[in-house]
Point group: D2
Chain length 367, copies 4
């Protein structure tokens, strides 16, 4: 990962600001021969699109993606794919206050200090709008994975909002797409709807816990020591706006276990090695085991709230700020499709890396 | 981060296996004119060195570092620095069992599946011995930081072992070097000594929580979007053996907060902006604020335990394995100096990156 | 250099095909605070633009560049700059023949063999149109250099066309912009006009020799061993379509010299070291000396000619092909602004790299 | 290519100075399962080793390579391979003069200006001794190529010394290993022996022209636009000490040709496409055609000569310098095995890259 690019072989560079004419992603290194259309990518973008219900920002963006290069007759050619999304709902408004004051919890102060200049309109480059480009690029990665690892699926979902966690006993994959929170627990969804509506009306916000499960990942993906699959997944999730923690498998709770409790015992199944449990989250020594890969991360509450917060101006004077405008009371909701996209990019990248170095050979186990 | 190399401008490539003749780090991109001696680096290696007390593996390694290149008359020249550490205590023993069976929780099975070959002696490349090379490289980074950011300090410490957390009311920086656990809570140290001794004698192991605080980091380090300072710190920590979760500031707990609770309000102090709290962990939008940078991570319990665990052989037959040998009952202890080293490398790297792009200019705040 | 990206810190990724909707460059790592406008960049694009005289392809492209991101109020913010150029003159025509047959000297056959798919319209990604994106990105680099190295200038010019070289005795910098060949020898320009007109009418083409001189480059830029300034300049030039050879200073002729003849003796001038000659082309050990940096390269004749050439079809049948359409009789002419752009990107990149590693310190010579 | 590392997937980082304890190469990304022994690598090192005849420096170095990591039971494991070569013949001598004065044609002055410090003993990092590490790494690349592209061969040879070129009519592959100049023209070898002996006795030196031919390279290797196979080969050769120009196929002479003369017409042979000529040097659009890949480069004359040359001291005073010591009268001779090694690394790297992105699929031609 470096600056505005991620990936080793499947490399994505995103560009664009919240209130500029457009934003997008330059996708390099995609295998040739992958069918890609704007319609296919739009499906994923629509998952992330704002303004779909009262729990996400009311900014109205079509988030329509245009493929400007890299495909021919609907198929990737192996050359860079440019994905552009125009900004269409940049409300003209007075940015005077936000231009002069630093919003607590935002990147306003750090961008200013680092660069001596910042595009303060809607957060500029640090806006969550940047993640639309990731989702588009992730759509390309998914299409390539559909060819190269047909059984692989990537699903994100919310497992906690504020102090309220899902009940894992209620976990139902089919529920995830049935509620505005992408949660597998239908009961939690009902509860959260009331809870979040209250916060929204109060002009407040709340954090969230998101989990991504990758099923059907072949064993052997990942590269020791600094190119570990878990390292790259952690970096990918931590790079999403507002993420403050990342876990693989047991995650932080691994600190609490003894060696006996943590061991995922191995046995031989019909299709290869099986494990008695998955504390490891599908990765050992940085390399996939073939089990489900489980990544979890926290999203901090939206910093834009209606309660006044103390801050300073560029000239150093004490002040207060209330962030009006159109904001998500729980920005974690829209992080779900973003996390899926990042996971897809990382897994595809490692699949290509592995194919490059080993040719996909695998040390045989059993007959 | 890519494969066996980390860093953008200050780049470290580690090499070597647990039971080969030597291991080391190739450090490229270090600024010229930094005083470096083997004695200076040895101080840090001694912190990580095994066999220092009954709580770490009894393998006896001098971990003596040799500087083979990149310095002249005790000062870096700006060319690659080769740091070599010889392996001296590779006990000759029968590796028959470990060669044929996959130890649960180890990288045995994934290395085998990926590469079709593995150096099974002591874990080969996936051994924690690799981290000695990181500590040596981190020593170089510290020496450069001492020149470029004189007030900066990096301190790692243990804040939890198994279910037992420190009492933050007892936090005393001076205590950290006074106990075998690098913990700032003297009372916890006493408690843990008894607790861990019991686990050790039982051939068991336990996980740990480590925290690293970077004080005096200048504001403006870090690079949005995929080269964020927190992204790179998270990747650096996740790349350490046995780490399963990484947090910045509030970390996973950020999911639990409301926007009001999470806001770090800003005021003007004598030396620039000050913050009412540090939920952000010193980083906003991927860029340092000047506050303490706080990184926390979990280390899983050592997988090598005396209780038999079910596994399979390379030929796919069911079996059991007991990992004898010299192991750490809490490998988290030795992760403390490793994490400090990784943090030093990341911060130096970002300091050089920032200097490269911005020349170190800073947007002024106040008079 | 990797795939569609070049540069270490100042990184340019180009994208787009000859006959797609647009092409462009994603420029990452530019210093903040650099004034950039579309008008400024257009000046350079107009130098490369086709259809300006009878010696370049009659394709009519406005080559109008749009800045989609990375600037605010006309100044760079330090975030990625997206430069887009729409294709406007993609003549609709029958591509049947070119789709089935491989044009000798073109990348048709290799793209097909590598990717199993190719955008055959106008050469797709391998078209010289890609270089428009480089010129736009080079304009950004020039603007940054104007701030960071004010005395630095980069000038490309043609020194040979076919068998006809310029007479160095006629060298006049002021002539370069006065003729369609960017040549400093007014007499050669007259001669070449007649010569090339003959070739053009005959449907033939011819190669060229281009030279780029960088004046005012500070000493100390470049990085040994594999990041040498000459290595990166050579790679940058060799990456331009149709380039087959690159030279620094004496270049290939260095093979002919003795050590005595080749030595650039050093003396002390008023402003630092001076050299009796410049066989080295301004670079020693990969690092700039402060002398003029001199890079020379050859451009092969345009492969698209009216004389039928033997080839095969995708199904392997023998055939002939005549490449009609709008082509440059001497594509080297338009390589001049491209080479300047590449040189600007390389020098800026090394200036940032040097500032990152050394902080711009310089070992003093003399009082 | 970046600083002290080259390659994308097969990455080599060299380290070490002429007069330090050792130098070497860290090789990352090698495929697993490749047989490598010190003996195998030594064969290549012995080709480059100094002191083998009167035409190379009389420094006596065993250049014995040690494999410190990355192999197990004589086979690569896919982890980093550390190759170390001890310096054994660093004559203790008075470096007083060379420490204070800058030798013309050497990197003394630029290293000093850039870094403010330099290891002046024998050229330090800029010494040609660094190329021993490249040759060792190239040996690893050759071993991997022997597995992955069995019919591929890489042969370097000298085609010109000073003003004296070989007669291509005398070209005999079998002669190359039969003379101290690695030249395929036995008659030239005799002539050059007398010529170079004269220069050597006079304390002079001369430049050389080297060519490398890669036979049996599969079509489809290389990556457009900035990762072209010719771009990477050019960079690889230009990174060798004393190289001032690089050519592919026709090279600089391509400037002299018309389109008709330059066209390599295509026909269908028994084993796929064939070409009537090879002006392209085996590469079209940056991608291999399957023809012989032909790279040519110039090596400047050794700058260390016995004739006094004017220079300055660090304090800026005018002086003269005679470079005594043990030097190569034609350093181009030892560049031959170095160039072969670099070519091997580049081709392997592109083979892995291609396998990563395309899986080695090939667009079929003919039935």
């Amino acid at each position: 990962m470096s600056l505005n690019t991620y990936g080793h072989l499947f490399r994505v560079t995103t560009w664009g600001e919240s209130h500029g004419p457009a934003l997008g992603a330059t996708v390099d290194g995609c295998p040739p021969g992958v069918p890609i259309t704007e319609e296919m990518l739009q499906v994923w973008l629509n998952m992330r699109k704002p303004g779909q219900n009262k729990f996400t920002t009311q900014r109205r963006e079509a988030d329509a993606v245009e493929i400007l290069s890299g495909t021919f007759e609907g198929v990737t050619t192996g050359t860079p794919i440019q994905l552009m999304i125009r900004n269409t709902d940049q409300r003209s408004k007075d940015y005077g206050e936000i231009a002069e004051k630093f919003r607590p919890g935002h990147a306003d102060i750090t961008y200013w200090q680092k660069y001596g200049i910042r595009d303060y309109r809607g957060g500029g480059r640090s806006s969550a709008r940047e993640t639309a480009a990731r989702v588009a690029a992730g759509g390309v990665a998914r299409a390539a994975l559909a060819q190269l690892a047909p059984g692989l699926s990537i699903t994100g979902y919310m497992v906690g909002m504020g102090e309220r966690d899902i009940d894992r006993a209620n976990f139902d994959w089919a529920q995830i797409s049935q509620n505005p929170f992408w949660t597998p627990d239908a009961q939690a969804a009902e509860d959260w709807a009331i809870y979040l509506d209250g916060l929204r009306k109060a002009g407040s916000s709340v954090g969230a816990l998101i989990e991504v499960t990758i099923k059907g990942c072949p064993p052997g993906l990942g590269a020791p020591i600094y190119g570990k699959l878990d390292t790259d997944l952690a970096a990918a999730m931590m790079s999403i706006n507002a993420v403050k923690g990342v876990e693989i498998g047991e995650g932080m709770a691994a600190a609490r276990l003894t060696g006996e409790a943590n061991a995922d015992e191995i046995s031989m199944g019909e299709n290869g090695p099986e494990f008695s449990s998955n504390h490891a989250g599908g990765i050992l020594g940085g390399i996939s085991t073939g089990q489900d890969i489980v990544v979890r991360f926290s999203v901090k509450p939206t910093s834009s709230i209606l309660t006044p917060r103390g801050t300073i101006t560029k000239s150093g004077e004490a002040s207060e700020i209330v962030t009006k405008g159109r904001h998500d009371p729980c920005v974690g909701i829209r992080a779900v499709p973003v996390a899926e996209a990042m996971a897809a990019a990382v897994v595809l990248d490692h699949l290509l890396l592995d194919r490059g170095q080993t040719g996909g050979l695998r040390g045989p186990i059993g007959g």
